[in-house]
């Protein structure tokens, strides 16, 4: 019996190592050492006491950003409505978290959408973590008033 068990164990161990490597590859974002420093650097750019409007309220942002996180309301679907919302609520910082490992890109923050944002916002940080993950911090231009 010991021989059979050891044989099965050896086969399982070999199979397990290759499957663990597959899992690692499928979740390679977990091994990306740029991720946390990028969030920390972004947090440092936002003054203490200011809130950060985020494109997604992901658990990572909630945990690693010490500022108050405000998720963009679901009703906002255009650049103008986002602008109105931020100016009305006296919010200055917008963090676009584009993580295609987890969720599809919001059209408002697609490459075209972001180009439109640049008229009213100034990009103050851009961190490319990998081919699917980006952090972009925008600051609303100061002359905006309704």
């Amino acid at each position: 019996m010991i021989g059979v068990i050891l044989l099965i164990l050896t086969i399982s161990a070999v199979g397990a190592i290759s499957e663990i490597e597959n899992q690692q590859h499928a979740h390679k974002i977990f091994y990306n050492y740029k991720f946390i420093p990028a969030i920390v650097n972004i947090s440092d750019l936002v003054p203490q006491g200011s809130s950060v409007v985020v494109s997604h309220t992901h658990s990572y942002l909630k945990y690693f950003i010490p500022h108050k996180i405000i998720k963009i309301p679901n009703t906002i679907s255009s650049e103008k409505s986002l602008l109105y919302y931020m100016v009305k609520n006296n919010l200055t910082y917008l963090l676009v978290y584009d993580n295609r490992h987890y969720f599809p890109v919001n059209p408002l923050f697609s490459d075209t959408g972001l180009k439109n944002l640049r008229n009213d916002y100034k990009q103050i940080a851009n961190y490319v973590i990998d081919d699917k993950t980006k952090f972009q911090l925008y600051q609303l231009n100061k002359n905006w008033r309704f």
Binding site: I2, F35, S59, K62
Partner: protein, 340 residues
């Protein structure tokens, strides 16, 4: 002072135990090499860290539907060490190792050390258990408490039945859905034992823990939910996902599981009933979930020991067939029980 003969005799009589200790030491080194290279927690892990922070600083909980025991453990550790997620990254995987060791101790007592060695090592080498066990996840924590409950439930000591109840309660607190698995184990054991004292003692200690867990969450959040509404749709039309992917999930050993069911010996030993029920009920439960997003290999972690128990049981049954013994004799292999 021991003589050389006594020393060698001890080594000989405990050779499987020594082999298991060597395995655990090498496995721990390999396992923690994976723990150390992870750079960020999983998104679920970050939720548990957020919840822990909420308990620690008394702020509103961000995801109330998640089981809170892991966050209480994290908050408890942070009370001593200060808030640092890197400490937690190294602490939570200990439960994976703990589950493997308790499983060995449990099976060693009832099925022999070779059987225990086979089941425990196969369980720890399962790639999904290994991978998710290296993270801040409830998979390893709940597996630890299921195995601990099983250890106490299978014990003949009456004081252990009380501990079994506490462990059942903590299994619920570690991952709400695992209550189904641990209750299956408990109910089957009640039927096997037909001992009112066993049932009462276990229920008496499990109930306050389960009610207490619900009550603490209720006091903090104002309500209690065990899961997100989207995760609780069940259907009689079972998904074949787990059967289709069984080779990928459990490896070649899973091919032996149906073989175990072919032997009369499997049903003769009442000890096996718990593992059979644990396997069948868990497989049906996860296959009955109609949400395809929830068809994931990592949900099998909580009943992986039952799968490997049945696989090793099949090998044990095959090895007891006379014709197999004779064939092995012809090629010069003698089984260990025959040597005795």
């Amino acid at each position: 002072m021991w003589t050389k003969t006594e020393y060698l005799g001890l080594l000989k009589s405990h050779k499987v135990d020594i082999l298991f200790i060597i395995f655990i030491i090498s496995f721990t080194a390999y396992f923690y090499s994976y723990v150390s290279i992870s750079a960020i927690p999983t998104s679920d892990g970050a939720e548990y860290l957020n919840n822990a922070r909420s308990w620690l600083y008394d702020t509103p909980i961000s995801s109330a539907y998640r089981a809170q025991l892991i966050s209480w453990i994290i908050a408890g550790i942070w009370q001593i060490t200060g808030e640092n997620w890197l400490i937690i990254k190294y602490v939570i995987p200990v439960f994976t190792l703990g589950a493997g060791i308790i499983l060995y101790l449990l099976l060693r007592k009832h099925k022999g050390n070779l059987f225990a060695f086979g089941v425990s090592t196969l369980t720890l080498l399962n790639p999904h258990l290994f991978f998710w066990g290296t993270y801040i996840m409830t998979e390893s924590l709940s597996l630890f408490f299921i195995v601990l409950s099983l250890y106490f439930i299978k014990s003949e000591k009456q004081s252990h039945w009380f501990l079994a109840g506490i462990s059942i309660g903590l299994t619920f607190a570690s991952r709400y859905s695992t209550l189904i698995e641990v209750m299956t184990i408990f109910v089957v054991e009640c039927i096997i034992r037909k001992d009112r004292k066993f049932a009462t003692r276990t229920i008496m200690s499990a109930t306050p823990i389960i009610i207490g867990t619900i009550f603490i969450v209720y006091l903090k959040v104002g309500y209690f939910v065990g899961a997100q509404p989207s995760d609780t749709h069940f259907t009689f039309l079972l998904t074949p996902y787990y059967l289709q992917n069984s080779l990928n999930i459990w490896g070649f050993a899973v091919l032996l599981v149906p073989v175990a069911f072919l032997f009369r010996r499997t049903y003769k030993a009442k000890y096996n009933y718990t593992f059979i029920a644990w396997f069948i009920v868990s497989l049906l439960f996860w296959s009955a979930n109609s949400n395809p997003i929830l068809h994931l290999p990592r949900y099998t972690v909580q009943f992986t020991p039952a799968v490997y128990f049945l696989a090793i049981l099949a090998i044990e049954n095959i090895s007891k067939i006379n014709i197999v013994r004779k064939s092995f004799h012809r090629i010069g292999i003698v089984f260990s029980d025959e040597v005795k």
